[in-house]
């Protein structure tokens, strides 16, 4: 699975995700990537793109949950994304990238690693696979 989230300097947000699915999946199987609110979501607070075991991500409405925690509990992007990844989904199954309208970035995952990259207008950038 591949995905990208972006926010411009006016706070406009968007998210996109694309995948071939799971190796050896059944013909006709649909995963999280094309289910809005599961693998992909964006509203006025944040934009989220998830990757991992699609069935887990759909069951957990992962992308929407990040936005909902920000919307209804007033959490920051990082707090919301970490709760969804480290408390609300089984270990070894999910990762996500997300940006907020304020320009924050979150890239948590509960698998051994996740191919990821990020950058901000002030010059910060990162390309990584595993954690430090």
């Amino acid at each position: 699975t591949v995905g990208c989230v972006a926010v411009d300097s006016n706070g406009n947000l968007a998210s996109a995700t694309s995948t071939g699915g799971l190796v050896n999946k059944m013909v006709g199987r649909i995963g999280d990537t094309s289910v809005i609110g599961a693998g992909t979501y964006a509203n006025e607070l944040c934009a989220v793109s998830a990757t991992g075991v699609g069935e887990v991500i759909i069951r957990g409405t992962v992308a929407r949950d990040v936005a909902a925690l920000m919307e209804f509990k007033g959490l920051s992007l990082k707090e919301a994304a970490n709760i969804v990844i480290h408390e609300r989904t089984p270990k070894g199954t999910v990762g996500l990238v997300a940006v907020s309208a304020a320009g924050d970035i979150a890239m948590p995952y509960n698998t051994p690693g996740m191919f990821r990259a990020s950058a901000t207008e002030d010059g910060y950038s990162e390309v990584a696979i595993w954690s430090e």
Binding site: T1, T17, G20, V23, K25, I30, T33, G95, R116, W130
Partner: protein, 187 residues
């Protein structure tokens, strides 16, 4: 505040990923990030930026999407994608694509050129032809690597959420680390 961007190429990457597999993927991430940075600096809208970057990722065979898509249990390709605009909450999604080169762009056309959010399988393929998006023979998407991985998954009789080697019981370390070898192309 300024602009910000983040992208991913899949989760589940085993620590044992050999350098010859890791380096080209890191290069590809860096390349796609640069495309996004340049686009945001040129004031492109976030919606256009995420479509542009995901198209680039779809065209790179190292990742499980577009050209590098993994195979079904019948050895076929079924790609899916979605896109969403935070301002308008408009969104588009497609599934079950077998010939469309960039699924994410078709998802955007569903969002912009239909009253619907989601088109799948034959309907999505027909819409692709109506919209004139680039399509190729399905074999274009099938790589030797992915055939090999499907065979591994079949041998291990499991659905792989990544490109790990099947877990054999003779080596303890592999049974403990579900992502033993190979590289990740998590769904």
């Amino acid at each position: 505040m300024g602009w910000a961007i983040a992208l991913h190429g899949g989760a589940g990457v085993p620590y044992s990923l050999p350098p010859e597999r890791r380096q080209p993927r890191e290069e590809a991430l860096r390349h796609c990030l640069q495309i996004g940075i340049k686009a945001l600096n040129s004031k492109m809208t976030p919606l256009d930026v995420v479509e542009l970057v995901v198209r680039e990722l779809e065209n790179i065979p190292h990742f499980n999407a577009g050209r590098g898509s993994v195979l079904t249990n019948k050895g076929t390709i079924e790609m899916e994608a979605s896109i969403m605009d935070g301002n308008t909450m408009k969104c588009g999604a497609v599934s079950g694509l077998t010939t469309v080169v960039n699924a994410v762009s078709l998802a955007r056309l569903v969002m912009e050129n239909t009253p619907h959010i989601y088109l799948a399988f034959d309907g999505a393929e027909e819409f692709a032809r109506q919209q004139g998006v680039e399509t190729v023979d399905s074999s274009h998407f099938i790589t030797e690597e992915n055939i090999e991985r499907l065979n591994q998954a079949k041998e291990a009789n499991r659905v792989q959420i990544d490109y790990t080697q099947p877990i054999y019981n003779d080596t303890k370390s592999e049974t403990e680390t579900p992502f033993a070898n190979g590289d990740s192309q998590t769904g």
